[in-house]
Amino acid sequence: MYKAKVNITLRKSILDPKGKAAHHALQNLGLNNVEDVRIGKFVEMNIAAGSKEEAYELAETACTQLLANEVMEDYQIDIE
């Protein structure tokens, strides 16, 4: 059994208003060293697969078919 950890964020070219709002709030907290905030989604999946590569492929299919919308989002998969 593998665990896939997927991070989905808006593509870098797209303004992330939630991240921007959080960034403003962090600045109000005095955390001025925080230079940029991006807010996304985190998805964890337990995957029954014969190998790490197979688990990655399954997770990638899940991302491209449902979890992420590649028109506006990027995803990053880590398999443990």
């Binding site: 808006l10 797209i14 303004l15 208003p17 939630k18 709002a21 919308n69």
Partner: protein, 233 residues
């Protein structure tokens, strides 16, 4: 044979009855609901994918509804060149289903916006807008939190070249400016069609602007255009 309109009902649709009422009781056309588990569309002559919050907008608006059984029938219906209108969440579902290009982001200012807005007819090259004049201004209500239409530059160019931009947000005089583009949509886009012109997605709700008692009847102007071209009613 009399014409028939179908309104799809997903779990979480909440403008399905508005659309049904507008079609059946205001426009006086035979109308029926189609459940999201139906696998055929009963030969309807126009399909409406209504607004709401299908599947609670989990993951992304429209992302889960795309996998409802009825959507296979919708894909076939579109391939046959038959007409589909997606309103608000219906637009989002059609985007997620790949029947229209682009995607919806959260409104730029992150607020849910529910008010009358003005939209300008940008193209009369579709089955839905050919009864309108380019530049016509309609007052139609919007009600959405994720209506910030996004498409990359190349896609936008395709939309423009193929006359696929049906409506843009504008002010009461038909002027397009930063204030009129209240949700931050690329190029102030409020509605688009597919390349073939038989699928329309729009964020504003014409079915909510159908009766004088509600203070706005511009929705009738829109549906008259649709029905005229499709020879409905």
């Amino acid at each position: 044979m009399s014409k028939k309109i179908g309104v799809i009902v997903f779990p979480g649709s909440n403008c399905d009855h508005d659309a049904y009422h507008a079609m059946k009781h205001v426009m006086n056309v035979e109308t029926e609901f189609l459940w999201h588990k139906d696998t055929n569309l009963n030969g309807v002559d126009l399909l409406i994918v209504p607004g709401g919050f299908s599947y609670g907008d989990y993951l992304r608006s429209g992302a889960i509804a795309r996998f409802s059984p009825v959507m296979n029938a919708v894909q076939d219906y579109v391939k046959e060149g038959r007409p589909v209108i997606g309103i608000c969440n219906g637009f989002q579902i059609l985007l997620e289903a790949g029947l229209l290009p682009g995607a919806m982001l959260h409104n730029e200012k992150l607020r849910f916006v529910c008010k009358n807005v003005h939209i300008r007819v940008e193209s009369t090259h579709s089955q839905f807008t050919s009864g309108l004049q380019k530049g016509d201004v309609l007052k139609i209500p919007v009600s959405h939190g994720e209506g910030n239409y996004f498409i990359e530059a190349e896609g936008l160019q395709n939309l423009e070249e193929n006359n696929q931009i049906a409506f843009r947000y504008c002010d009461a005089h038909g002027e397009i400016n930063e204030d009129s583009n209240f949700n931050g949509s690329v190029s102030s886009i409020a509605g688009i069609t597919n390349e073939q012109g038989n699928v329309l997605g729009m964020m504003p709700h014409p079915e909510r602007a159908m009766e004088p008692i509600l203070g706005n009847t511009d929705g009738i102007t829109f549906f008259n255009s649709v029905f005229n071209e499709l020879h409905i009613a």
